[in-house]
């Protein structure tokens, strides 16, 4: 069973590494993200959101969904710690 899990992990890893061959190179100006998405953010962010800090505009508005689940992840971490560790004095006695 352990060997099977190891085999599955290695196979998935190899497939993912094989997939990275088709990625655009680092900082490639012809990659899809650099040709229309990044220029749109850089040119339009201040006009579209009236936020001078582009990082905040992308994080809070264009990628608001992402930021929401980042908050939910932190919330879940807190709830997990509470549900594992928290105990009341009355229950012990």
């Amino acid at each position: 069973m352990k060997n099977l899990a190891l085999l599955a992990t290695l196979l998935t890893g190899a497939l993912l590494l094989y997939g990275t061959k088709d990625f655009p190179a680092w900082g490639d100006p012809q990659s899809p993200a650099s040709t229309y998405l990044s220029p749109h953010y850089i040119e339009e962010a201040v006009e579209e959101t009236h936020v001078p800090n582009i990082v905040t505009a992308v994080l809070g508005d264009y990628r608001g969904y992402d930021t929401m689940f980042e908050t939910v992840v932190i919330y879940c971490a807190g709830m997990a710690v509470v549900s594992v560790l928290r105990r009341n004095r009355d229950e012990e006695e």
């Binding site: 959101t49 800090n53 505009a57 930021t67 919330y75 710690v81 560790l85 928290r86």
Partner: protein
Amino acid sequence: MRDIYEHTAGEDLIIKTSVRLLVPFIQLFGLYVIVHGHYSPGGGFQGGVILGASFILLALAFGMKTSQEYMTIKVNTVFTNLGAAIFIGVGVVSALFGGLFLDYAALNILIPLGRIEWHSFGIFLVEVGVGITVMSIMVLLYWNLSSGGALDEGL
């Protein structure tokens, strides 16, 4: 061993005085980082961590009970849920008023500030929600981990 530890930990005059002087400024700086996230590096996560650290510093220097006088367990629980609820609530309300989920411009019907201005203000609302959640979760994690879940006395 336990007795010596209890008598020396946090009893130092220098530590107590410097923490008492520092905490208000740390909290003010945390609020500044949240509110000024539109113009400089910062935002909800960073400011929330700074605010949470101020309460942890209080707990380290004066004991966990003192920090619970300034932020009670009940308030902490409310804040934890409130922050996440603000974020998701803003998204749901903007969806109810005819926009997409988290499309702040739709809230212009509610309070007419201008559609573009609402993008800016919506980000601010969301950052406040993030800050509240991160602050209370930081304090909650410290309380639970350092006291083994009893929340009475920690490090």
